[in-house]
């Protein structure tokens, strides 16, 4: 596997893709001039530049967080280049030119045929008419008034919406990495579901035009107006590579009265090799505001990649009777580290939240669940149920749980359950005594363990996720 990863990571150099790009890369380092440069390159309105500069000023006063249970060498933020023009990726002419190792990986993961081509960097129109698919998709959405485009496009075409909502859920100075993102974000997705519209299909980043080059500081904003509903899928199970080591994305969700936003992620960034060399640092701020009454925000994540994951998709339950959900599977292997969980902030009356977190650690990895449940004085009748289960494979890995529970209203009911289990010799012996080999046994145990979360994923995603987990843990036992 590592050979495949290595070859993919090295691909741009191997094929000499770097031509001409150098000229359009900003000098390394971060200062106001760089931010002005980014804004100018993207031809942004003045208010967005101010937003960026304000974030930058906040960032300067902030310290990189150190409380998380992950360890990595200090990041030199002045050694990073914060702007490069979208890379003109060289397209391969046909599937025959794709590395056969990569194709085998897709095969194992069960990635659909037409997606394989796109992911492998084959010009998709060689295989099928992607433009027509994307166009049909867009037309269908436009008919019901849904806007789904890159955030840069939205800045120009729907500035009133961006101005109204950007930074309202994750303020520019929210945390160190969010401030950095707000100052330098290059692109991401924008999605707007107008009043009363139930989005007729799952929105997937895969179908968004211009997904390439959304880069290391991604920004996503999703708004569901009154009585609207949307299911949004981020990422895919196929491995994703990037030469940038640091990634700091921000995702903001806003749900008005009776609106429903379901956000599903499968994250499979490059995790480093089996010795812990390389891999992406993923520092993400994801937050949903259940602003209106009876609104619902649901996060489902399957985190399998990155060398370091630092991520707490959260819900602010402001509307009365609003609902927040967090379903998570985090898998770490080799030397991966994950510190992930959620925050459920109950403000409105009769707000409810559910947290189901499953951590799986193998190899020398470390996985931590960190979750906050806060019931504020105004949250009369609030309820929370949390379940945090950890599974260890082998005896070199670690699992940790850091639950924070703050209850300021006597009428609240808060439950927390936690368990730790281990796939050990005796479990595997039981399976092998029934003729079932170790790989199949682990796959069955893991899928049983994650069932509550996989059930929340859209059907095909769930099937892919199941395979992905088996694949990720291949060889970790026995």
């Amino acid at each position: 596997m590592s050979a495949v990863l290595q070859s993919l990571v090295n691909q741009p150099y191997k094929h000499g893709f770097v031509t001409k790009i150098e000229s359009d890369v900003a000098p390394k380092g971060l200062n106001e001039d760089i931010i002005r440069l980014i804004s100018a390159k993207k031809n942004e309105p003045e208010w967005l530049l101010s937003f960026r500069l304000e974030a930058y000023q906040k960032w300067l006063t902030m310290k990189e967080p150190e409380w998380q249970n992950v360890h990595y060498p200090k990041i030199d933020f002045q050694a990073i280049s914060y702007y490069s023009a979208p890379k003109p990726k060289k397209k391969l002419a046909s599937m025959d030119e794709v590395d056969p190792e990569l194709l085998r990986t897709f095969e194992k993961l069960g990635v659909p045929m037409h997606e394989r081509a796109a992911l492998a960097g084959v010009a998709v129109d060689v295989i099928f008419d992607s433009v027509s698919v994307a166009t049909t998709y867009k037309q269908k959405l436009a008919e019901v008034g849904i806007i789904f485009c890159s955030i840069s496009e939205a800045v120009h075409n729907h500035p009133e919406l961006i101005q109204k909502y950007l930074g309202t859920v994750v303020p520019v100075g929210d945390n160190y990495f969010a401030a950095l993102n707000s100052a330098v974000f290059t692109d991401g997705s924008f999605c707007f579901i107008p009043k009363g519209v139930k989005c007729p299909m799952d929105l997937s980043t895969y179908f968004r035009i211009n997904t390439e080059g959304s880069g290391q500081f991604e920004r996503t904003l999703i708004i569901a107006e009154e009585d609207a509903a949307v299911s949004y899928l981020e990422g895919c199970t196929a491995p994703r590579f990037d030469t940038n080591q640091l990634h700091a994305a921000v995702v903001e969700l806003v749900a008005l009265d009776n609106a429903d936003i379901k956000y599903s992620t499968v994250q499979n960034w490059y995790a480093g090799d089996e010795n812990g060399i390389g891999g992406i640092y993923n520092f993400v701020t994801k937050r949903g505001l259940a602003k209106g009454k009876n609104s619902r925000i649901s996060w489902t994540q399957v985190e399998t990649g990155s060398a370091i994951t630092w991520k707490y998709p959260s819900c602010i339950l402001r509307g009365d009777n609003s609902v927040g959900e967090f379903y998570s599977v985090a898998v770490t292997n080799n030397y991966q580290q994950a510190d992930t969980g959620t925050k459920m902030i109950h403000l409105g009356k009769n707000t409810r939240s559910t947290i189901v977190s499953k951590g799986i650690s193998a190899g020398h990895s470390n996985s931590s669940y960190r979750g906050l449940v806060r019931i504020s004085p105004t949250a009369e009748g609030a309820r929370n149920y949390s379940q945090c289960d950890s599974m260890l494979i082998g005896d070199q890995c670690g699992a940790h749980t850091f639950p924070y529970i703050q209850v300021h209203n006597n009428s609240a009911i808060v439950e927390h359950e936690a368990s730790t289990s281990k796939i050990g010799e005796d479990q595997l012996f039981y399976f092998s005594q029934r003729g079932i080999d170790a790989e199949e046994a682990v796959s069955m145990i893991i899928n049983g363990f994650c069932k509550d979360v996989f059930q929340q994923l859209p059907m095909e995603f769930a099937v892919e996720a199941t395979k992905l987990l088996s694949f990720k843990l291949e060889g970790s036992v026995g």
């Binding site: 479990q427 012996f429 399976f431 029934r434 003729g435 069955m444 363990f449």
Partner: protein, 264 residues
């Protein structure tokens, strides 16, 4: 039943095994032919459960001497899953729980794995459902067993029934039942014993590992072996178990030479 000219299924000779450097089995000799039911009795710590696990191939034990043949195969050369596929079955004293995995899913995977090995037809979920429900009647099991997670929240008796159900499904040549009677009330014991008796035939064999004679009232052995400190010190017919029941294990310790002489 003892069958004339039946073939030898299991031949254990001079078997020694240790765990973490401590020797537990100190030279076991045992011959089991098809059609036979053997009981291995002994106190806690006598090594009888270790013998069961060693035969099934548990990785924690190191074999230091001896040979084990299973039909025409060198059993010790086979991985645990290959021993299972070759027809050796161990009913666990403490079956593991697998949360989130439906029992039917696990049973079908085990069944199809063994079927594939035997070159027989695998069953799809619907076919398997009919098949397993029929087998469950044998053990007086409630069909809701199939949808529950494997052994999770099962009572002691339910876990044991689930083990015997697997034995019924997999149709092994040699079944080793480790402390099948522990944790069972008398009704459950009768049900489980009845299942074992129905599965037993002239072509397969059963080894019952047990502390108490009680089980042997319902599954009557052809041979009884008494283990002490890692060796079989005494072998006899079913009456040996009754003798042991009235006189206790101390009697064996004190008189093993003379008893052995008397029985021989």
């Amino acid at each position: 039943m003892i069958v004339n000219n039946s073939k030898t299924l299991l031949l254990v000779q001079g078997l020694r095994a240790s765990i973490n450097g401590t020797e537990i089995l100190k030279g076991i000799d045992l011959t089991v032919k098809s059609g036979e039911i053997h009981a291995i009795m002994g106190l806690n710590g006598s090594g009888k459960s270790t013998l069961a696990k060693v035969l099934a191939g548990h990785a924690a034990y190191e074999i230091t001497a001896g040979t084990v043949r299973f039909e025409d195969k060198d059993l010790l050369e086979l991985a645990p899953e290959d021993r299972a596929r070759a027809g050796l079955f161990l009913a666990f004293q403490y079956p593991i729980e697998i949360p989130g995995v439906a029992n039917t899913q696990f049973l079908r995977l085990a069944y199809n794995t063994i079927q594939a090995q035997r070159g027989k037809e695998e069953l799809d979920p619907l076919e398997f459902d009919d098949f397993v429900r029929e087998k469950m009647k044998l053990l007086d099991m409630n069909p809701d067993f199939l949808d529950r997670s494997v052994n999770e929240g099962f009572s002691g008796g339910e876990k044991k029934r689930n083990e015997i159900l697997q034995m019924a499904l997999l149709e092994p040549k040699l079944s080793i039942l480790d402390e099948m009677d522990s944790g069972l009330d008398i009704d459950a014991l009768k049900t489980v014993a009845n299942g074992v008796n129905q599965i037993a035939n002239k072509d397969n064999a059963t080894i019952l590992v047990t502390h108490y004679q009680r089980l042997l009232d319902y599954v009557v052995p052809d041979f009884v072996h008494i283990m002490q400190s890692g060796s079989i010190v005494l072998t006899g017919g079913k009456e040996l178990a009754l003798e042991l029941e009235t006189r206790g294990y101390d009697w064996v310790t004190a008189n093993k030479r003379s008893i052995a002489g008397a029985i021989a």
